[in-house]
């Protein structure tokens, strides 16, 4: 599940510098998220599909992610048309379907898919470690980047630790059910996970101090922004600006 499955690849997008991708993604997602016009959002979605083709990712895997992201949109489709009020489209028995409700649900669905696609193609194509260093390069607070890089580093370790405890419980015939015993067991299990990660943190900190840690993490691969990256940045921002300006032309 946490395998960063989109990060490996050799496409145009995989090769770009993470800093550039972060900037383009932030601008693009901002435009898509706050727009209220169907034209803008549909065009943004189409362009996001173009990015998907450029990134040459496994389409089935991406499809699965999109499906998961659409559970919230499904909830909106089930509630908004029935509860929004306003102009009535048709009546289904006791329920009335509202036009504005359907419009809003459709707009949000388009936005959600567009944003998830651009997240996958722009940010998902870099490893999280490189994104952390990219954020540091973009002058995001160093302590915050440190926390991001470090918790990312240890999530897998701690998850394994938790699974070890859970396996141990399973071997002692623990079967989860809806009762107080289950909740007590989970409470203690998680408490033990916390205790272990606390002690691990102390050991890691001591080990790093011994190696001369001064609050800076040095990335393994030093990247410099190449001219290709600048071209990508300019094109990306230009397209974003064009998409954003559509409503001003068609009034």
């Amino acid at each position: 599940m946490m395998d960063e499955r989109f990060a490996t690849g050799n496409s145009l997008l995989h090769k770009r510098d993470p800093k550039v991708k972060v900037i383009v993604a932030a601008a693009y997602i901002t435009v898509a998220a706050i727009s209220n016009s169907f034209a803008v959002v549909s065009l943004a979605l189409a362009l996001a599909f173009l990015l998907l083709l450029l990134s040459r990712l496994d389409l089935r895997q991406v499809g699965k992610r999109l499906l998961a992201a659409n559970t919230f949109t499904l909830f909106l489709w089930l509630t908004l048309p029935l509860t929004y009020g306003g102009e009535e489209l048709t009546r289904l028995g006791a329920f009335s379907l509202s036009v504005e409700g359907i419009r809003l649900a459709a707009l949000i669905s388009l936005k959600t898919n567009c944003i998830v696609l651009s997240l996958i193609t722009l940010l998902g194509t870099s490893r999280i470690a490189s994104l952390g260093h990219a954020l540091e390069g973009l002058h995001v607070s160093r302590r915050l980047c440190f926390m991001l890089l470090f918790s990312y580093r240890y999530i897998f370790v701690i998850y394994q630790e938790y699974q070890k405890l859970k396996r141990a419980a399973g071997m002692r015939c623990f079967v989860p059910a809806t009762n107080i015993h289950t909740y007590r067991t989970y409470g203690y299990l998680f408490g033990m996970t916390l205790v272990r990660s606390w002690n691990r943190a102390t050991r890691v900190h001591q080990a790093m101090l011994l190696r001369g840690f001064n609050g800076r993490l040095i990335p393994l691969e030093q990247r410099t922004v190449a001219s290709n990256d600048i071209v990508f940045l300019v094109i990306g921002l230009a397209i974003t600006a064009t998409v954003a300006s559509i409503p001003f032309f068609y009034r």
């Binding site: 599940m1 960063e4 932030a26 997602i29 898509a32 998220a33 706050i34 992610r65 998961a68 992201a69 919230f72 909106l76 509630t79 908004l80 029935l82 509860t83 009020g85 306003g86 504005e100 809003l104 936005k111 959600t112 997240l119 996958i120 994104l131 607070s141 302590r143 915050l144 440190f146 926390m147 470090f150 918790s151 990312y152 240890y154 999530i155 370790v157 701690i158 998850y159 938790y162 809806t178 107080i180 289950t182 909740y183 007590r184 989970y186 409470g187 203690y188 998680f190 408490g191 033990m192 996970t193 916390l194 205790v195 990660s197 606390w198 943190a201 102390t202 890691v204 900190h205 790093m208």
Partner: protein, 200 residues
């Protein structure tokens, strides 16, 4: 509890981002490099908590443990939750980037409130600690659901019913979180009491 990207209106997004920025700035300011390692690992642990599914009737829910984070981390819960949510949106594409501010506020503000209300009680022994821990778990989810509902409602009044549904759907989770937080806190008090004096 995540609100997807593209649902909320710009003023709501801005308000969430502002609260998160202030909270994170204060949280980071209080965090020195001697404690940052511990907080980072606890952030990872709380991320893992969101992968733990506990059964409830025929279905299951995943843990949030915002109340526990508040009690243990204090002001550091803001950067910790921000990082955990960012990792979630990068790993699983839950939530998003622009909505990160609102989602962080939804979880971290109640955690901080729980810290101020229940923390003094948690340091006491016996039943008071258990009641406080249950209260922290229960109230963090209650307040989180309220803030989420408020964010939806102030975006568009048409979300009113959807917001009510979200509130109602979280009631079972409030009770389960309360119970699990209670057990975890009494466990920590026995095994590693340093946890309960850390956030100061």
């Amino acid at each position: 509890m995540h609100i997807s990207e593209g649902v909320l209106s710009p003023p709501v997004l801005l308000a969430g981002a502002a609260i998160t920025a202030v909270g994170t700035a204060i949280g980071l300011k209080k965090l020195d490099y001697d404690r940052i390692m511990t907080v980072s690992l606890l952030t990872a642990t709380f991320f893992v908590a969101s992968l733990i599914h506990v059964p409830i009737g025929p279905g299951n829910v995943h843990l949030l443990l915002g109340g526990l984070m508040g009690i243990v981390l204090g002001w550091s819960c803001f950067p910790a939750i921000l990082v955990a949510l960012l990792l979630q949106s990068l790993f699983f594409n839950f939530g998003g980037i622009l909505v990160l501010g609102v989602n962080t506020t939804i979880m971290a503000l109640p955690a901080l409130i729980c810290f101020y209300i229940f923390r003094p009680w948690v340091e006491k022994n016996g039943h008071k600690r258990k009641i406080a821990a249950f209260g922290a778990g229960f109230c963090s989810i209650l307040l989180s659901a309220c803030i989420a509902a408020l964010a939806l409602w102030s975006t568009d009044q048409g979300f009113a019913r959807a917001a009510q549904l979200i509130l109602a759907a979280h009631i079972p989770l409030m009770i389960i979180e309360g119970i699990i937080t209670m057990f975890t806190v009494s466990f920590l008090a026995k095994v590693q009491p340093e946890f309960l004096i850390m956030g100061k």
